[in-house]
């Protein structure tokens, strides 16, 4: 037996079907927003799954082409703590693309059908037979190398040049992760690569471990080296074997930054949803004031009444949470599928993170009840008489200056005047809806600003490296003090600027170092301190992220691990650019070359006379030829190719920012539909009168469109400062995730498309209430309560 009050709670849902549905739809959309929070967790799962599938090594040893039989490699798996072992040949080579040589990474796999660690999976086509190669899927994705199945590639290795047919695409995360910022990767059988390199053995030994504690890992490495020494006494291995800490994998930092971005964007969606739930429930409860008066007149006490309304709110929240969660789970999984396959080459599994389900339930049910509470308490406090005389939302028109001002808009048609004045009539609700739309429009503006900032940073990071061609030494005879002269003598070359790339250790981490001349072409942007001067040696300029993370300031004296041992250097400047993720270190070139005992740097930024692609290609070919003919082993990187890869990556990130922005925008627009429909429901009788005195569908359409667009315009106005604020917040949060401080790029042009879009969507969404109005007979409308 349930009480009359509880029965009322249940029947309330069906009594005003349209309003209940609208409210529940609004809450459900907010719940969908909550599910965006599932994206980082689902991406994590997808990545974990990819790591499991690829069986990413935990320890990697780098022997110098040691000859090991299959049985000897398998024997490594018998060592304590080793669960699986494998070995590969990894070498550098070059592919001839229409006469231009591009560097590639070559990976030789012992047996594609029986891989144990760092498994190279085939995505399309087939595993390569002898004389064939498998192209890494990332090659094409980042514009590094376009090779279709069946294409023939001419590949040059240490032992000569061979022709290879492309058998398919595939890859493994260990190597694929390097494609984005490095060379394209090609996989082939170990025997094929042995033939191309002339190397007898393997150059990479990968171990998959059971225990991952540092001490146990160290013991395992020692045991493996002892095992290998017994087989090949005197064989040297790199002293610092590659290891992955638990939960780490290649490019995890980039992934974490990306995940932070998603978490922040999802947070904005949740906030927007919460505001909408509050707004909707507040409106709903205010419409019930008359009924609250009736219940009080019949002896209902405040707690009874509040309980009954909260029960209804809870029920609505429950239904909306279920519906919103179903849609949210689908949306989140769909987005993750798109993100994981395009950015991470991972195949995500369908998932429902329970913690997000909990948040959705809390926001959908408890949030709805809480949102209703202020309105319910307010309604229960007013007198019975006032409550009984209350009919929906009070809408007094004519007193405010705005009302008077609008009456001067006589140039508008009558229908448009009616719409505009109707918007002004329910000022409170129009502003609340405007705020909701403002949040959506503001989010759109903020997303554009975020995108613009990301593109700016991306381009800035790219553009700080001057030149049209980058020249690198490749083992063998490196570059020296004759290089600049040789290069500058090549046709089409304007200038060659030296740069020496190295790595320094600092507080247990490795950081990329650029050693540059005092009068460098590198366009540094110092936030503090100064650039180094002629003759200075033990000084460094550090990137802002490194300074922030390691709490470094100008004049700090720090100890860094250089290739020749630890040295003390003074921090003399902090650079604002995002070189090496803002964690770059810059040192005077002369000091580093002196320490390394070199006469020249290991790389050059080369400016060509013309930036035309053909001219750059020709100059690169000329440089390679000129240096190789003098015995230098070099490779070149064409900046226009890198720029395209860079833009492709930026576009992908922008696409996903937009993809996430769409649900937030949708939430705002559904709020507009909800408000417009509620407005129409409240004015049903008035619309009946309009129909009775000759208003046709087009008149009502114009009226509702004007009203909707007026509210949307107010929303846009509110959205501009909101958007600026959200953009600042988002960029601040993301820059914190990077440990840096990003500039805020706020493109003013973005206000125009967002205004057009907001007005267009507003004009479109009013068709929903219009259809209802047009269907309604005037008699029914006049009788509507």
């Amino acid at each position: 037996m349930i009480s009359a009050l509880r029965r009322r709670s249940l029947r309330e849902l069906t009594k005003r079907g349209a309003r209940s549905w609208l409210t529940m739809t609004t809450i459900a959309v907010a719940v969908v927003g909550v599910w965006l929070l599932a994206i980082p967790a689902l991406i994590d799962d997808a990545m974990t799954s990819r790591l499991d599938d690829d069986r990413l090594n935990h320890v990697r040893l780098f022997p110098n082409a040691v000859v090991l039989s299959d049985a000897e490699i398998d024997g490594l798996a018998e060592l304590p703590n080793v669960t699986a072992a494998d070995a590969k040949i990894v070498a550098g080579g070059q592919v001839n693309l229409s006469g231009r040589l591009i560097d590639v990474g070559l990976v030789g796999v012992r047996d594609f059908s029986a891989q144990r660690v760092d498994v190279v999976a085939v995505e399309s086509g087939a595993a390569p037979e002898p004389g064939e190669v498998l192209a890494d899927g990332e090659n094409l994705r980042f514009g590094r190398l376009a090779a279709d199945i069946g294409d023939t590639l001419s590949i040059t290795g240490p032992a000569g040049t061979r022709e290879f047919a492309v058998s398919g695409t595939g890859g493994t995360i260990l190597f694929a992760s390097g494609v984005r910022e490095g060379d394209p990767i090609l996989y082939m059988t170990a025997d094929t690569l042995r033939d191309l390199t002339g190397w007898p053995g393997v150059t990479s030994i990968e171990l998959h471990l059971d225990q991952r504690d540092a001490a146990v890992v160290s013991e395992t490495i020692t045991a493996a080296q002892v095992y290998l020494d017994d087989i090949n006494p005197g064989q040297s291995y790199w002293l610092a074997p590659g290891t992955w800490d638990p939960g780490e994998w290649p490019d995890k930092d980039d992934f974490d930054n990306f995940r932070s971005l998603f978490t922040i964007l999802a947070g904005v969606a949740v906030l927007s949803g919460l505001f909408m739930v509050y707004n909707t429930m507040n409106t709903l409860v205010r419409q019930e004031t008359h009924e609250i008066g009736m219940m009080k007149a019949l002896g209902g006490r405040r707690r009874h009444i509040a309980g009954a309304f909260l029960e209804t709110a809870g029920l609505m929240g429950l239904i909306a949470t279920i519906a919103g969660s179903v849609a949210g789970v689908l949306l989140a999984n769909l987005l993750v599928s798109a993100i994981a396959t395009s950015l991470m080459s991972a195949q995500p599994h369908f998932g429902v993170p329970l913690e997000v389900l909990g948040i959705a339930a809390v926001i959908g049910i408890a949030g709805t009840m809480l949102a209703a509470l202020p309105g319910v308490l307010r309604a229960t406090r007013i007198s019975v008489r006032d409550a009984m005389e209350h009919h929906g939302i009070e809408a007094r028109y004519g007193d405010a200056w705005l009302d008077r001002a609008l009456q001067r808009f006589r140039f508008l048609s009558r229908s448009a005047q009616l719409g505009l004045r109707s918007a002004a009539r329910s000022k409170g609700r129009s502003v609340a809806t405007g705020l909701q739309i403002g949040l959506a429009a503001g989010t759109a503006i903020a997303f554009i600003a975020l995108g613009a900032t990301m593109v700016f940073l991306n381009n800035q990071t790219f553009d700080v490296e001057a030149g049209d061609i980058h020249l690198f030494e490749q083992g063998g005879r490196g570059l020296d003090d004759t290089t600049a002269g040789i290069v500058e003598a090549v046709d089409g070359v304007a200038a060659a600027h030296p740069i020496h790339y190295a790595t320094y250790g600092f507080r247990g981490e490795n950081y990329g170092v650029w050693s540059l001349p005092t009068d460098t072409v590198f366009d540094y942007d110092l936030g503090a301190g100064r650039w180094f001067r002629e003759g200075e040696s033990d000084v460094v300029v550090v990137g802002q992220a490194l300074a922030n993370v390691e709490d470094l300031a100008v004049d700090d004296v720090i100890t860094v691990e250089r290739f020749d041992g630890p040295i003390e250097v003074t921090v003399i400047g902090i650079d604002n650019l995002m070189v090496n993720g803002g964690k770059g270190i810059f040192t005077p070139l002369t000091a580093v070359l002196a320490a390394a005992g070199r006469s020249g740097s290991n790389a050059y930024w080369i400016e060509t006379v013309s930036s035309e692609e053909a001219a750059v290609d020709a100059a690169a070919g000329g440089i390679e030829q000129a240096l190789r003919s003098r015995g230098h082993s070099v490779s070149t990187e064409l900046r226009y190719v890198e720029r395209a890869a860079n833009q492709s990556e930026a576009s992908l990130i922008l696409t996903f920012i937009v993809l996430l922005g769409v649900p937030v925008l949708a939430i705002g627009m559904i709020a507009l539909v909800s408000t417009m429909t509620t407005n129409v429901l409240e004015r049903t009788k008035e619309i009946g009168v309009l129909r009775s005195i000759g208003a046709r569908r087009r008149h009502l359409g114009k009226m509702l469109r004007t009203e909707g667009m007026a509210v949307a315009f107010v929303g846009w106005l509110l959205g501009v400062p909101l958007g600026y604020g959200i953009a600042r917040l988002l960029i601040w949060l993301i820059s914190r995730a990077f440990g840096a401080s990003f500039p805020v790029i706020f493109p003013l042009w973005s206000l125009v498309p967002v205004l057009v879009l907001t007005l267009a969507v507003a004009a479109l969404v009013v068709r929903i209430p219009l259809r209802r109005v047009a269907r309604m007979r005037p008699g029914d409308a006049l009788r509507y309560e």
Partner: protein, 247 residues
């Protein structure tokens, strides 16, 4: 009977038809609310001639307001035919009806039903706006004339919230006259007014009728009903008195 010749609405101005202004034949109306079916009209035959001043009377729930809704096309009959000024309005679409109503029928509601965001003048212009009658100046001039007729020209710029109940109802009559309709209907047009204001209102409706406009109104007030040319009594969805041929 004051005349049986009228101009047919929506037809060329030089075409005239003869016949009653309103002809309801075997009209039934059943309202359905949830599981409840409520027969409001049970087969009514009713005729109102052009230029007549007719009062519909009857107890609450008898169906008199429903008759007004049916003859203005605000509601559709469940059965039967409705002919107004020579046109079968029960066969029109909603949009055709809205357009037809705006140009041919003036409605005065009990609760005035003025648009709260429009001034008195704008309310009086509204049906002309919907019907695209004349230029904006012509509409304004005509609406001003109508406000003058109801003695409200001095309050043309006032919003409904700034007018008394009687003044609002006078604006409603000015609005009803907007498109020079052949028929004016009033659903308890004085029901919300004090007796003095109500009497003045009736004088106004009578003067409109004097100009040849057919007036049909619903009232509970016996004195107001007695001022009509003809009283039609409705009870339980049937005409019980005042209609030729009725019981």
């Amino acid at each position: 009977m004051k005349g049986a010749v009228q101009r047919a609405p929506n037809q060329a101005s030089d075409q005239y038809v003869t016949g009653p202004m309103v002809q309801l034949t075997a009209v039934e109306k059943v309202f359905i609310s949830g599981r409840l079916e409520y027969p409001a009209l049970r087969g009514i035959d009713l005729s109102v001639e052009t230029g007549e001043f007719v009062a519909l009377v009857g107890p609450s729930g008898s169906g008199k307001s429903t008759i007004l809704s049916i003859l203005t096309g605000i509601d559709r009959p469940t059965a039967g035919t409705v002919t107004v000024a020579g046109r079968r309005i029960d066969e029109m679409t909603e949009d055709e009806l809205a357009s037809w109503r705006g140009e041919n029928v003036g409605i005065v509601f009990q609760f005035f039903q003025l648009l709260p965001t429009l001034t008195a003048l704008e309310n009086a212009m509204l049906p002309m706006d919907f019907a695209d009658r004349g230029t904006l100046d012509e509409r304004r001039l005509k609406a001003s004339d109508h406000l003058e007729l109801v003695a409200l020209s001095d309050k043309a710029d006032h919003l409904p919230s700034e007018l008394s109940g009687g003044e609002q109802q006078r604006v409603a009559i000015a609005r009803a006259l907007a498109c020079d309709p052949a028929l004016i209907v009033g659903d308890e047009p004085t029901g919300n007014l004090d007796s003095e204001t109500a009497s003045g209102m009736f004088d106004l409706l009578a003067s409109v009728n004097e100009r040849g406009v057919t007036v049909v109104y619903v009232t509970h007030d016996r004195d107001m009903a007695n001022r009509a040319d003809r009283i039609i009594a409705i009870r339980d969805g049937l005409v019980v008195e005042g209609n030729p041929g009725s019981a």
